[in-house]
Amino acid sequence: MRRYWDLIQRSRVWRSVFRTRLPIKSGLDRSLVVFNSLTLHIHPVKVRERAIRFSYTFYLGFISFFLFVILLITGVLLMFYYQPSIPNAYENMKDLDYVVSYGMFLRNMHRWAGHLMVIVVFLHMLRVFYDGAYKPPREFNWVVGVVLMILTLLEGYTGYLLPYDQLAYWAVTVGANIIDYAPLIGKNLRFLFLGGNEIGEVTLVRFYVLHCIALPILMIGLIAFHFWRIRKDGGLHYKPEKRSRQADEAPSPVQEPSTEIIEDASGPIQVGKRIAVFPHRVPARFQTQTPPEKLVATFPHLIIREIICFQLLIIGLTVVSIFFDAPLEGLANPYNTPKPSKAPWYFLGIQEMLHKFPPLVSGILLPGLAIIGLLAVPYVSINIRREPLWVHRRPKTLLILSVATLVVAGLSSLFHAFSIATPTLLLYGLAVIPYLIRSEKGWIGWLYRRSLADWIMTWFVVVVTVLTLIGTHFRGSEWRWVWPWM
């Protein structure tokens, strides 16, 4: 057996396909595995040990990508049984659920992976934000990431209509009518988007093409760019060794050392850094001193982590898809609105706001501002310096913060949006504690070290989460308040 295996490996055909000779023995072999492979050479040959720790990134970027791959595979399989027409689309769902072998399982997996991807992409963005991984030279990659998040939401939304049941029809109706409120172009945009005045067969085909072809192609392109740009911006982001307090306060522009330590089979060695691979166009004022980083070989250290991550994800999704079925209500009926009718859960924060504010504000203005705010993150210098809030001009900072809080809380209270006012005031309280009690130890010290950027992002996340939770679990018929356990 072993002999035949060796024979195959030594054959000209095998060697023409796989250029790496097994077994892998030396550090050079490990490098060549990555270097010679189309799929693996997305990675550098060596990576910083600190950057690939689970406790640093939680592998949220990997997981987002793996979910995208799972969605592509399950999606293509589902397409074999799907016709975008009425009522065939709905009947196909019934067939998938009750007739097609493993149809239900595939549909479940596609749906849960889709929901999970929305969550994971959002968490990935938060992780990148809190670690400051968007700072120069990575600004544009952050922008691409935000665009990818919006595309993920659009994928979810367009996919929501495809089963063409009551849930789908009315969720998409509510979403499409929000577009109506966009100034000037709203009416035409909605007509173009739906391919008519009402959701119908034309809309179904449009959403189908967007969901299965147009958006995935766009996403594949942007994901490739996102990955490529990580390499060009100096590899996976990592946090350097904790600097001393002094260095923290006055970052001095110091050139990076020209050598890094590489962990090889024979022990750590120093090698020259390849300037061509790590171009540094970081403005001097943002540069900070970094000690030499320990590097490990991508193969096997990073690859094994990715494989484990992927396998755990697949196992988790499989278990969930076996035990929880994707919902399917009755055939879409344009003449009967179910009670309550809700948008997909990731838009329920917007729907909750629609209940409080005029549609132009909650449907267009606030989401638009949120997106512009996210896109602008890496181009605003307070987000790059990230100094503790109370370092300079303490009374003036307090005044501005108090006025801003009062305006936000006051305006939202005016519209009875206490779900926005309450978290705003609570976070304001937390932010002011280090002003009142001067301490650099314990939890007050931790609060003291938070920057303005931290506070604003945390406020945004808390408000979005509260609104979404209320919209999902605390709203019943006619959008009245209900307790989920009653």
Partner: protein, 169 residues
């Protein structure tokens, strides 16, 4: 020597050289073609034929509607109301907030306040479609209803205001 002098003289006088001209002409052409393709694509994606139901329909002779009654027309998503005075009006059942279908709480139209409510975001309307509470930005649409050859005709493409909404018979 004279040649080079001649050249520099030309360069001094002309404000645009061949290279610059080609760049401007080329990028303008690309810009026009680009804008044109966007316009053509938008036009391509705009449906020209809508297989939607015709806007006018016959609701039947007035005699079939009782005084003080509400009849829901499912296909056109509207209520045909005959009030206690015997007047007719046609009220859209599509909520002006986000397009959910509103519900008439009971078949009795005499309940003035809060006769109509929306299941999605809790807008409440009076029986003539005025907003009582909730996020709805404007009253429910009223369609022109007329009596032609003894039959009630509703035209959903003709939205009328308060003073034209009633058909007085």
């Amino acid at each position: 020597m004279t040649d080079s002098n001649h050249n520099t003289d030309i360069e001094k006088h002309k404000s645009i050289d061949r290279r610059k001209f080609c760049i401007i002409a080329g990028s303008t052409a690309v810009g026009i073609v680009g804008a044109g393709s966007i316009a053509v694509m938008t036009d391509f994606l705009t449906p020209k034929v809508l297989r939607e139901i015709p806007p006018r329909f016959t609701a039947g002779p007035p005699g079939i509607f009782q005084l003080n009654s509400v009849v829901y027309n499912e296909a056109y998503r509207l209520y045909i109301v005959r009030d206690e005075r015997g007047f007719f009006y046609a009220l859209s059942a599509v909520c002006t907030h986000l397009g959910c279908l509103v519900n008439w709480k009971s078949g009795d139209p005499s309940d003035e306040q809060g006769a109509i409510s929306c299941p999605c975001h809790g807008s409440v309307y009076t029986r003539t479609g005025l907003v009582v509470s909730g996020p709805a930005p404007r009253p429910l649409d009223k369609y022109r209803i007329s009596l032609i050859e003894g039959k009630l005709i509703v035209d959903t493409s003709d939205i009328v205001d308060e003073k034209d909404m009633f058909l007085k018979i």
